[in-house]
Symmetry: C2
């Protein structure tokens, strides 16, 4: 059916899954890495940097923007995208809480 039954899960579970899903494509990872690397805004070099067509990059940017992880300003003829540090902190904190879980190992039978 292709549709996820979000009503079966808690808000936290859905939120974590949404974050992970947004990070679940190498192009979006590459975009974020590039943004961190240049520590500045994107002004069009992404299409050259990553070898995908312009509409494809634009679509991936949109998804990251929808999650709130990046923000963009119009700057003349080009758009200026950068990491929203506040959102990034919130999102990574949430993910880290989940990732830092450990099995105590007491009932570990495998």
């Amino acid at each position: 059916m292709g549709i996820t039954k979000t009503d079966k899960f808690t808000d936290e579970q859905n939120k974590l899954a949404n974050i992970a899903k947004a990070l679940g494509h190498p192009a979006r990872i590459a975009i974020l890495m590039h943004l961190f690397k240049i520590d500045s805004c994107i002004c069009g070099d992404l299409v050259n940097e990553i070898g995908l067509a312009q509409p494809t990059i634009s679509q991936h940017l949109k998804e990251l923007k929808n999650l709130g992880i990046i923000k963009g300003n119009i700057s003349g003829t080009s758009i200026c995208y950068c990491i929203d540090q506040d959102e990034w902190t919130q999102i990574t904190t949430l993910l880290n809480q989940f990732l830092s879980q450990k099995t105590e190992g007491a009932g570990n039978c495998c």
Copy 2:
């Protein structure tokens, strides 16, 4: 086209995306949470715990197993799944490295 062009990206980018993708569904988040919570093995209570059909759960378990994040032993008539702590540590370390990046803010123009 629905196919991801993995050859355009580095191994690290593809690996990170694969991990995130595996975590990108609330059912799989819920499965992992349950495994951590009971700190033991699953012996069939997952289908009741999560409200999805048995084949669906089985499919999600398979994906987590493929990533190496959980492992399963046959234990009589039921299967015993649990977190593979070593793999979990490796995977979360990799993700954390990525997540802990920060923008220095120097070129932050948005």
